[in-house]
Amino acid sequence: MRFESKLKADIKKSNTLGVNDLKARLNLESRPEPVLAMNNGQVKAVGRFSYLKALIPILLALVIAVLVYIMIPKDRGQSQYLIIDINPSFEIEYDQSGNVVGVFPYNEDAEIVLSNMEIKDCTLDSAVSQIFDKCVNLGYIGTEREDNAVLVSAVDEAGNKNEELTETIKMLFAKEFSTKKILGVVITGIVDSTLEDEASAHGVDVQKYAYIKEYIDMGGELDKEYKDVSIREIRSLIYEKEKEIKSQAIADIEKAKEGLQNGLELSLKGVLLEQIAILSKDIIENSEKIELYKAYLETLENGQLTDKEIQDILEEIKKNDEDGVLTEIAGGISQMLDKVNEAEKNLNSLNKTPEEMANEKLDKIGPIKDGMASEVEKWQQDMEQSASSNWLENKDKWKNDLEEIFKPKDKEPPKQGKQEG
């Protein structure tokens, strides 16, 4: 049976006193009438002095009520809640005038910090300062550490984040760090509100939950309750996990690179060997033709030939390769060179260091993709082309238009003088 069911059963078993006991008690405690019973059974109205005596408690109560009314602030307004997570985690309730109404520990560490502390009715500044000091004294904030972290968030009664107040509290903590010369960061939680329910179910602030979720999404594991993980700890775990992922990515890339290099080298080797085998066969089988071709080339290089002789030699070369074998061999060699060039290009693309590749992998935005870059390039080319074609098509018209505009206007014929005579 689950604990809740057991507890329900226990509560059901608990009997309170019956209503008759209560009624009996009420009769015992019923207020006396303002009359006095005489020994002889007669009833006599109380005298003036006795009335005054009876009025004393009422008057006293009135005076107290007036005093209380004067002393109690008239309107404390709606409460606000401040969540502080160091890892002692607290919720501080305070009224609109900034006075602490109550402090609630979220975990055992917070209970330790709050023991023997009287911060109710203090101002928020003072409460923050006292909590900070106690956390330093108890070692929750390390004076020698550089990774101290405090998470603060302020919410109103409806649970909405109050960013202005969060910022104010952030400044208060920042001031504490600064005046006490302790290194640390103050984090304010402004994150996806869809996580709020999950965070609430785990009893942690939404920002802390977001950090924990990030860590777990990265493949991290926590061996304790979320509320017992300090904000410093979770940030440090994320940092370490990032490093681990990065180094793993570097190792993976190095391994992949090695494999790729081997693959490329092997494939190149294979292609070349195959090509060489074919070429070798062709070369051996056609060695006479090649020798003849070589001789023709040497003759041509000699240079002391007439045009007619050169023409004849070229005709001979042509005739020598009527079956196209020599052309095929030349093509094969050219193809082989192409393969070598392509392999070199591929190998060069692996020149980025694994770290650069890992950074790209970790970068959430990522580099501009090739597709995007070529799109931009294409657009640019289109624009240039359209501009130039417009120019070509219209240049004559535009030229005429310009000439028309700037053409010196014909001088008006001089006005005729007064007619003679």
Binding site: F3, L7, V19, G203
Partner: protein, 168 residues
Amino acid sequence: MGLDALAPKIASHDEKSFEALYQKLNKLVYLVCLSVLKDEALAMDLCQETFVTVWQRSHEFRGKGYKSWILTIAKNKSLNYLKKSQRDVLDGQEIEIEDTSVSIEDKVALKMAIEHLSTIDSQIVLLRISGMKAREVATFLGLPRGTVSWRYKEAIRHLEKMMKEERK
């Protein structure tokens, strides 16, 4: 009939309405007292005192939230009792608690809930188990609703863990 509607009738000392109120709320009032006092006999006593006050002072109640008003009386009475008893112990006067036949020993879960939880957590657990909604408990204790939900879950988890360990 809602509890708020009973208030004016009880204020004019209608016994039937008072009985109806007692039947509906006595367990809840008792649990509030128990969560603060952590003693069944005392809780019963303070529960009765609460209803005596309700009988005598219902004419002072206005508006809505009669249930919350009654539970607040129970809580304040229990807290005042505790403060007074602490003062009396400091002054050298020992508090004599009436010997009653009530025993909590046979109610393991209830005993754990009141002994191993803080007063606030104990109140949250007992009130939620007794059927009060998280929103009502939050209003009554002056805590955010989310806090009540997660503190309840945490407390139950803690108690379940303890119960398992005790079984071992």
